[in-house]
């Protein structure tokens, strides 16, 4: 029974890695569609989000089946519950990619944000892609050093998020309302994307070390 359970846990882990891989691909494409106003890439991101949603639903069903069949307790139980939560966060990260691509699509053939902000968003996008790739590694290896590095990158995203508001609310800002709306939303989506990654990191850290981190700490 124990062996079957361990095997099922590995299956859960592999699926989480797989979903995180889809999310990494999705934020990479979303960022490129945003930076380059590539509307067909944007549409690809939007269409592919369904695969992430579906994979998350299937993972949830697997986790519930494991709970029912294996009746895990103590740490084993928390591992399965954590998997459910990680899957929900990954699904939301896919939504953020979609939202970023939707902005690119709405404004096409115009670019989404004015020139002065493009380097900032290019950097936010680059960091989110890096965070997503690290998340794949973290879920695969449970190496807590990666969790730490994700948190550091989240701090940089937060700083960039604040800098967007500084710019948009500064005296030199010449953008029109549409630029302000897009910058506000895009910045928020990038920031939320990274937040979800941090939230997942905390859960993986628990799985690796046994230190339970409450959902919203």
């Amino acid at each position: 029974m124990r062996e079957v359970f361990q095997q099922e846990l590995r299956e859960v882990q592999e699926r989480l890695v797989e979903i995180a891989g889809l999310v990494a691909e999705s934020i990479d494409k979303a960022t490129r569609s945003f930076n380059e106003s590539d509307v067909s890439l944007a549409e690809e991101v939007i269409a592919d989000d369904n695969r992430i949603d579906q994979a998350a639903i299937e993972l949830d069903e697997l986790a519930i089946t494991i709970l029912a069949r294996q009746q895990p307790v103590a740490r084993d139980l928390r591992i399965v519950v954590s998997a459910l939560r990680i899957s929900a966060s990954l699904e939301r990260m896919g939504d953020m990619s979609t939202h970023i691509s939707q902005l690119a699509r709405y404004r096409f053939p115009d670019k989404v944000v004015p020139k002065s902000l493009r380097p900032t968003f290019a950097e936010m996008g680059r960091l989110d892609v890096e965070i997503a790739r690290k998340l794949v590694e973290l879920l695969r290896t449970e190496d807590v050093a990666i969790a730490e590095s994700i948190r550091n990158e989240d701090d940089r995203i937060d700083a960039l998020h604040l800098s967007v508001f500084d710019k948009v609310l500064g005296e030199k800002w010449k953008g029109e309302a549409v630029d302000t709306v897009d910058a506000t939303l895009a910045s928020r989506y990038h920031e939320r994307f990274a937040d979800h990654a941090v939230s997942i990191s905390k859960k993986v850290q628990y799985l690796a070390t046994g230190d339970w981190v409450p959902e919203d700490a």
Copy 2:
């Protein structure tokens, strides 16, 4: 054993009702702090969010204890898993109230949005408060008619959300960048608040009818 389980489920339900009550109070105060630029009320909302977070963590711990002790299967298992998800959504709804109040606090002593948009935000706030109160009733009674009515109100919020963008991006918009940012964020927070309520409604509908609705359908 079955009787103990039923009693524990009632305890879970009561706690969800209680947390939803805190959320209803929080969005009511957040909306008032926003409409009336009441900075002390805004600070109350921000400080009280901790109670919602704490109550959600405790509910999660209770649910995990029930999973471990009662080892529920089939529908019973899904009820407990649903409770975990409902608690996560309620916690996020509290965060949205907090964000709305933070906007009021940041702009104080100025009002958050220009006159032309205040009726729209007053209406979004009114609807979100109504939705939160209905959620309390829904969680208490499991009356699926309430779930339906929450969905209808969410449709109205979505329409108002779009109307904010129409206004902000329209030719008559005279707002400064700060008004555009605030309107964009406030509208997004109200919309997300209602989305979470709909997501909870679907889960309660399952609890009442047995029709399982996947996490993100």
